[in-house]
Point group: C2
């Protein structure tokens, strides 16, 4: 399970074989059942999560009590509530397994120790966050610029494997649709 | 002008006095007139920009030819199109001075050299991006969750200095309003 994380590090920075056990000692493996939670609104956001297998989602519950998904993370993606993580404060979000999911968790204090012992891993996370932040700029552009239908078409073209994998009601929530509207769009696309 | 950047680095990482000239040698000062551009759609996004004085905005031009602002950056903020910068590709965005603005620019290749010579600056950028990415998660939540009026109230409460400083038509564009709707909201608030 942990080999995959080391492989992902090694795509961006050099990892010496001898350092692997020390690096991994900062991470804790967690196995989640479908719909099991890693983080709940109001709880301190203690950890950052690397998805080894499966899929996580980040969502909030709006005033009407409806769950609104704003992010998914599949294999090799990191997910947490980054402001709450950085400040070690209560989160406004939930993180839950979409399916049976395996993650490697690193707590805030363990992450600081990891960086002290292996400062070159700062580069790995700098690159990961730079890319994630860049992707969020593009996403915000889409939220301003695209109609709901265009959002769906763009998402389906960019992430075809997601469309197959994610339950329809979660995909609808992510795109800000009702499940009925999404079902109409899909029929339209097939027609 | 460059002292401010060093001070900002020093908030997050240790900077030795003796290293300052070498660090600064990677940056190029640029003075922008109001509405002068740093980046245009279709151009390679060569550089990352630190605002010393003034204000930048990131925007795109939609199908109707309307400028849609999605980000502002004032003193001590960094701004670029991060995906286009990381990939050294043409941007879908424009970056322009909102007012007379002074920035320090670092090109992609200069940034790589800076990290080679001063690897501990990776930590500075890791922290900056982690925070910016976290803020974008919260922003995406607001875009899903808030009515237009709530977006304005939240923005006015969080960034009162912005409301004073940014021209009304740009603020309206940022919030996805017409200038007329923003003017109504402001009257309502004063009433």
């Amino acid at each position: 399970m942990s080999e995959q994380l080391i492989k992902h590090f090694a795509r961006f920075v050099e990892i010496k074989e001898a350092d692997v056990p020390a690096i991994l000692s900062y991470f804790q493996p967690i196995r989640l059942a479908k719909k099991e939670s890693l983080l709940s609104e109001g709880s301190i956001c203690t950890s950052n999560y690397f998805v080894v297998k499966g899929c996580l989602r980040l969502f909030f519950v709006n005033e009407k009590g409806v769950e609104q998904t704003i992010q998914f993370a599949i294999e090799n993606w990191w997910l947490t509530d980054y402001l709450a993580f950085q400040n070690q404060q209560p989160s406004n979000f939930y993180i839950q397994g979409v399916e049976k999911t395996e993650v490697l968790a690193i707590s805030f204090s363990a992450q600081e120790q990891l960086f002290q012992q292996f400062p070159h891993l700062e580069r790995y996370f700098r690159l990961i966050y730079q890319k994630a932040y860049g992707a969020s700029q593009v996403r915000i552009k889409f939220l301003y610029d695209y109609s709901r239908e265009e959002l769906y078409q763009n998402f389906a073209a960019s992430y075809p494997q997601f469309i197959q994998r994610i339950p329809q009601y979660l995909l609808a929530s992510f795109l800000g649709f009702t499940p009925e509207y999404l079902s109409e769009l899909r029929k339209k696309k097939r027609a």
